[in-house]
């Protein structure tokens, strides 16, 4: 089921009449059968967008289409969606079986059939031996699976996940995100999930949408977005350790940082730019720039070097072998990986 958002806008008005634009004129098309990550910092409107798609929030403007159906004014239960809440919202007084069966109680279906469906869903998410327990007796990861099973049991057209992994510990998070990916592949259901964790989004989504202050920044496949950020915000938001941001200029096709350190060539026009270099885009090079290191950390395969470049502290992540035992470190930059951003609006140049 393809989901189309057209100029979707949500404005919250507080008691004093002050308006906050949570989602601002969002127009995106989410392809059918894909796993889409809605990514952004806290308060960027990603959950609001999700709840509008779910129908729990009414949009202030714009339209939502599921395929060709305009669902903007449709009640949530009529949209054919499954929603997994951040804290799962499992009914604490019901057993796992009753929880998963609850959506089926509200549609016309025979009891035996419903029980069969519940079993099927439980098997899909891997909790078939926990059906008679109460949610409180389950671990966080298991509760999460129950929530997904409950969302899927009605065979919705769209699965929505609101920060599905934020309540899990680091290891379980890794496991669960693979699980979500598997379930999505097996069911082929269009899935939208909201997260503030870029790594999480990059690892499981087919496509990502980055939002900031309710405005769409970029929509792309994760790796494309990482390699070709459209603006400084996206570049800064993706990647860990974060991208190095420097002030610099271009003169006669040379990219210059600080006073006179030439780090590469470009076709951009002369002028001042904001320059972004990912830490891993440095490499050890004897002919490169000799750097005053502040700190060198060997982290297994990689070595993190912190040094000053002009006025700015910069991190470089290089192969441990290439700098091992050297007293003086010289680095160069993979020229084609340098990102130039407009100083005024942060948009990428070239």
């Amino acid at each position: 089921m393809e989901i189309r958002l057209e100029g979707l806008t949500k404005i919250f008005t507080d008691k004093n009449g002050k308006e906050t634009v949570a989602v601002d004129d969002l127009s995106i098309t989410i392809p059918s059968g894909k796993l889409i990550g809605l990514l952004g910092p806290s308060g960027c409107g990603k959950s609001t967008t999700l709840f509008m798609i779910a129908g729990l929030h009414k949009p202030s403007g714009g339209k939502i289409f599921f395929g060709d159906d305009d669902v903007t004014r449709l009640a949530p239960e009529k949209r054919g969606i499954g929603l997994v809440f951040q804290n799962y919202a499992l009914y604490p007084h019901m057993t796992v079986r009753q929880n998963i069966m609850f959506p089926l109680e509200n549609i016309n279906i025979k009891r035996e059939e419903a029980l069969e469906l519940v079993k099927e869903m439980a098997k899909l998410v891997g909790i078939e031996d926990q059906l008679d327990k109460k949610p409180a007796q389950l671990s966080g990861g298991q509760q999460q699976r129950v929530a997904i099973a409950r969302a899927l049991v009605k065979k919705p057209r769209v699965l929505l996940l609101d920060e599905p992994l934020s309540n899990l510990d680091a290891r379980l998070r890794l496991q669960t995100r693979e699980e979500i990916k598997r379930i999505q592949r097996e069911t082929g259901i269009t899935t939208i999930f909201v997260t503030h964790d870029q790594e999480e989004a990059m690892s499981i989504s087919d496509q990502m949408v980055v939002l900031d202050f309710g405005v769409e920044q970029q929509m792309d496949a994760p790796q494309d977005m990482y390699n070709k950020p459209k603006n400084l915000f996206v570049a800064k938001f993706l990647g860990n350790p974060p991208i190095n941001v420097l002030e610099g200029k271009v003169k006669d096709g040379n990219i210059i940082v600080g006073k006179d350190t030439v780090i590469g060539k470009t076709k951009a026009k002369d002028g001042s730019y904001t320059i972004g270099i990912r830490p891993e885009d440095f490499k050890a090079d004897e002919n490169g720039i000799k750097v005053d290191t502040i700190d060198v950390e060997h982290i297994g395969r990689d070595t993190m070097i912190r040094f000053m470049m002009g006025e700015t502290q910069v991190r470089a992540l290089v192969d441990s072998d290439s700098v091992e035992g050297k007293e003086e470190i010289a680095l160069s930059v993979k020229t084609h990986k340098v990102h130039l951003f407009d100083k005024e609006n942060g948009q990428v140049v070239l």
């Binding site: 009640a75 949530p76 929603l83 919202a89 009914y91 007084h93 609850f102 509200n106």
Partner: protein, 360 residues
């Protein structure tokens, strides 16, 4: 002006806090220096008893002793409350008398059972619906909450008298003065009903029937019980995570289904608490009958003779009123113990059911 007042207030609070802190600190040091911390080396259980002593003393004198004493008195024959003398012991004599021989006990049990059986479910259901409604209204919420809570803080006798007035009109005055209830009925073309009034034997006019009088008591009891229950249910409902309702909405559950399957189970501990306490309260009904009917609990020359609306507690008090006569106190005690056993029985049943039905 307001601002400086606020500032001054917050400063004053702070100063007061510092002041009290300083002095409580000094008092502690004073005790420590004078070695007045005499309990420091006591074992834990002794300390516990020491701290509980004031409460235990009061409870012992005014609660535990009377309970055991009335139990004891119920086994005495010809007990004189002034001298404390009695003729003999009897195991079941007083109970036998109360249940089989004395007049009015059976009627008292029937009256009480009716009040419990009708008012408890009715108040719980009505207050639950009002609480749900209150939880979902936004404007004037505080106003409604106050209105519904008013009966709780108003004197039972006062309200009872107002009720009696609302349902007033007796056999002599029925044509001339009408209470509010009869006036409202009059708008719908219903003839005035003698709700509570006594008949007039001299003129041969009959008074209220059993059911008209009982229904006033029932209406009063239901209404009077609402306030506290609404507050308890409302606080329970407001403590439920809104996400359950969002989830239920997405799952396609209707409002009434969400109420049945989510709200009620999630506040079941409160409902259970209310059930147990209101069953006990219902069995102990007394004041409302006094206020609405009269201090005798009888309506003379009613539709079919004298109408008896005494409850079990009423019955007990009747015997206590006659305590000057030897043996009456024992009957009162026996009746009280029977009431105790009835309440105990129902409470145990409820606790057993509650184990399976209540979700904590």
């Amino acid at each position: 002006m307001m601002k400086s007042l606020k500032l001054w207030l917050s400063e004053a609070t702070w100063k007061f806090r510092n002041f009290t802190r300083r002095y409580t600190g000094r008092i502690t040091t004073f005790f420590e220096k004078r070695r007045l911390g005499f309990m420091i080396h006591w074992p834990g259980w002794l300390k516990a008893i020491f701290y509980l002593l004031p409460a235990l003393l009061l409870l012992g004198v005014f609660t535990f002793f009377p309970i055991f004493n009335s139990f004891f008195i119920s086994f005495l024959e010809g007990y004189n409350i002034q001298t404390g003398e009695f003729d003999d012991y009897t195991l079941i004599g007083n109970y036998r008398y109360i249940i089989l021989e004395a007049t009015g006990f059976r009627q008292a049990v029937i009256n009480t059972a009716l009040i419990v059986a009708i008012t408890v479910p009715a108040t719980i259901l009505i207050s639950l619906f009002i609480a749900v409604a209150l939880a979902s209204v936004k404007p004037l919420k505080g106003f409604f909450q106050t209105v519904f809570f008013l009966p709780y803080i108003t004197n039972t006798i006062a309200i009872g008298l107002v009720f009696a007035y609302m349902f007033s009109g007796n056999a002599n005055t029925i044509g001339t003065t009408l209470g509010l209830a009869n006036q409202i009925l009059g708008w719908f073309g219903v003839d005035p009903i003698i709700w509570l009034g006594a008949g007039n034997a001299a003129e041969g006019i009959r008074g209220a029937t059993y059911w008209t009088a009982m229904s006033v008591i029932l209406i009063y009891t239901i209404w009077n019980g609402l306030a506290f229950k609404i507050i308890v249910f409302l606080s329970g409902i407001q403590g439920i995570d809104k996400q359950y309702y969002q989830a239920a909405q997405i799952d396609g559950a209707s409002k009434s289904k969400a109420l049945r399957r989510i709200t009620v189970p999630l506040i079941s501990p409160m409902i259970f608490y209310i059930l147990v306490t209101s069953v006990i309260g219902g069995f102990k009904t007394y004041t409302s009958v006094v206020a609405i009917i009269n201090p005798e609990g009888l309506i003379s020359y009613g539709a079919d003779g004298t109408i008896n609306l005494k409850t079990i507690v009423f019955y007990v008090y009747d015997f206590i009123g006659m305590a000057g006569t030897n043996g009456m106190m024992s009957f009162a005690s026996a009746a009280a113990i029977i009431l105790f056993v009835i309440i105990l029985f129902f409470t145990i049943i409820q606790l057993q059911v509650g184990k399976r039905r209540v979700h904590y």
